[in-house]
Amino acid sequence: SMVKIRTICRDDRNYTQKNTKEVQKVYRNSNASLHPLQQAREYKRALNAAKLDRVFAKPFISSFDGHADSVLSMSKNPQTLTEILSASADGEIRMWNISKGRNSLVINGHQGPIKGVCYAHLGLSSHFISCSEDKTIKLWETNALKKQQKAHALEESQASFAYKPKQEFISKYLLSSVDRSFGEETVFGTSGDIVQIWNMERSQPIHSFDWGIDSVTRLKFNPSETNIIASISLDRSLCLYDLRGNTPLKKVTLKNKSSALCWNPYEPMNLTLGNEDSNCYTFDMRKLDAAKKIHKDHIGAVLDLDYAPTGKEFVTGSYDKTIRIFDVNQGKSREVYHTKRMQQIFSVLYTMDSRYVLSGSDDTNIRLWKAVASDPLRPMGEREKVKMAYLNKLKDKYKYNQEIKSILRHRHLPKTIYKNQKKRVIIK
């Protein structure tokens, strides 16, 4: 014929889902004129995502009270997510079930303040070690303690009850902290006047490291290179020891003394120090001449530090009554938590599912916080997860945009911290 004609002829059957098992076909035309104002719309979505992030930022979950004196040390069970230990300045050790918010055990362990408490190696997960100012180190076993607890409960006697440790070690020197080896099940180390390495099967320390005049405040075993130990001492230094040799390895002296120390579990050659000058210094142990990164955001001495199991973030507790969460590669904190009732924070923990952060402070409370303040925590369906992932990516894309950055970074801070931070900027 004289003319050719073609029209769009859509068959309804091609565009409808026959049943729920069939995949719904979605046709997307990328022609820009069909999707106008793309940049503006995306910006608006990012802006709303940033605002909602702040709206839903409710990080505080609960506080566990029970201790009668400031919480000096905490430790997380390597096998169970919900179990932690906390030790206080009046010699009390408490075992908590975080999800229930209750004590499972209250142990009057020591006579002096407990300087360090630590779960034993993964292979001995029901064991934990505590060391105190009264120069004793006690090895406890959870199951035995629970049996004792039951027996005492049945007795119903009002007499004060003392739990019996599995083993007790007496140190010649003062003690300041305890940590266990990741390599050998029965090896643990204490710091104090000197660094001492113990074996649970021996009553005397198997190694002693003495380098320098001043006492050692903290000690940490490397999670991967299991023979390497890092310690910080009062002469402002960081010291590395190797168990295989009998002498210390390397020493680096900083301007101010450090109070906190932690190895990165994901990149075990890196470790972070929390310093008295309120900064955290991340070092590579192979190259100690310069810090890899300096994390500057606190205004008081950093008292404790713990890494997330992902190795991407760490949480710090400081003398300025705030907790900060830092990204390993960033110099500024991602998050800051504070409460009027929370005083100086002596210990922090990052839980092993990397979703929660715990802080033990001078006001005798242990507080449970979310690691990501606007995390909904509830189980999410697939569509919601995809949406959340998209919004997080949007926030990430627009984080340098002036308006969105000021919304995302906005935190309410206590007056002292706000003023001090401003001062620091001026001093710079």
Binding site: M2, K4, C9, N14, R28, S30, L37
Partner: protein
């Protein structure tokens, strides 16, 4: 003078992002092959012209499904304003004598039909087919898809034309004596009232790519407006007579204005210089553009379709459809 050191980590990040972006673009282009439908066309043999073929001649050449889609609606309630919803599924008809009808265009089913018993000047869908706004004799009314009256906007008096800025949720209304009013339909509050000072406008259109409103005036000029300025963004003296119809193409590159003296002019959106002008048998009272850029002009009793007007000056329309005697 120290040269700023390159941040190696940031450089690496940006490089990676660039790679991802290019991959995303490539995939989007690839995706277009999956589109099921292709563009329709009418092509005549060498010695024939496409405009000679009337719709009734072409009908037997179409597939059955399409033939069934062609039908006539005999409407008696005065001049009709039309609006399609954004997804093209619903059609709203509003007659001058007060007849309002909402149809599901895909099934040709009538969803709701009411008579408001007063003059309707213009109609407009809001964010989707569930709500629409009607510029009635005195006030603007908002109705539900069932025909239930939702709102009567008593502050908005004597609206002549309505446009809905879809991505801004703004209902734009052009009023008697030159008022241009923007209203946020999500909060229900007026955003901006602009006094155009050019009298009651003769026509109104929207630029889909930017959200700019175009008004055609009886003085022969057309103006472009944004809510943040009290003066027009652009003012072009287009015709020696009233601008009866105005339209902006979907790509946002051309403005088409139709004057009282049978001329249709095409203007470039960046330079605001006339690109082409066409003559129509009668003054074009309504003008609209398709997604693929086909221009439709309603000139008296004839509907003219012009194709490829943006490429080069066309000698004749692509298609012509003569309406029944007495209709326009």
């Amino acid at each position: 003078n120290k040269q700023m050191k390159r941040d190696k980590k940031l450089d690496a990040k940006l490089k990676k992002n660039e790679v991802l972006r290019k991959e995303a673009q490539r995939r989007v282009q690839e995706n277009n092959f999956l589109l099921a439908e292709s563009r329709g066309f009418l092509v005549a043999d060498d010695n024939e012209k496409t405009l000679k073929f009337a719709q009734r001649d072409l009908k037997p050449l179409l597939p059955m499904a399409n033939q069934r889609n062609i039908f006539d609606l005999d409407l008696q309630f005065g001049d009709y304003s039309l609006d399609y919803s954004h997804n093209g599924r619903s059609l709203l008809l509003g007659g001058q004598k007060g007849h309002l009808a909402l149809m599901d265009w895909q099934n040709k089913h009538l969803k709701s039909e009411i008579n408001v018993k007063e003059r309707i000047r213009d109609i407009c869908f809001l964010h989707n087919e569930t709500m629409f706004a009607v510029a009635q004799k005195k006030y603007i009314f908002m109705y539900d898809h069932q025909g239930i009256e939702l709102h009567c906007l008593r502050d908005y008096k004597k609206a002549q034309f309505l446009q809905f800025l879809r991505y801004h949720f703004l209902l734009v209304s052009s009023h008697y004596n030159g008022m241009l009013r923007y209203m946020d339909t999500s909060t229900g509050k007026g955003v901006r009232d602009i006094q155009t000072k050019k009298g009651t406008s003769c026509s109104m259109c929207q630029d889909y790519t930017t959200g700019v409103i175009g008004l055609g005036h009886s003085s022969g000029e057309f103006t472009l407006w944004t809510p943040n300025l009290s003066k027009p963004v652009v003012s072009v003296y287009a015709h020696p007579s009233a601008v009866r119809a105005i339209g902006i193409d979907h790509a946002g590159r051309h403005i088409i204005s139709a004057g009282q003296y049978c001329r249709v002019k095409i203007w470039d959106m960046r330079t605001f210089k006339m690109v082409d002008q066409y003559w129509t048998p009668e003054p074009a009272e309504s003008l609209t553009l398709s997604q693929k850029g086909v221009l439709a002009l309603g000139c008296g009793g004839v509907v003219q379709l012009w194709n490829n007007w943006f490429r080069e000056k066309q000698k004749e329309p692509y298609m012509i459809h003569k309406l029944k005697k007495g209709t326009s």
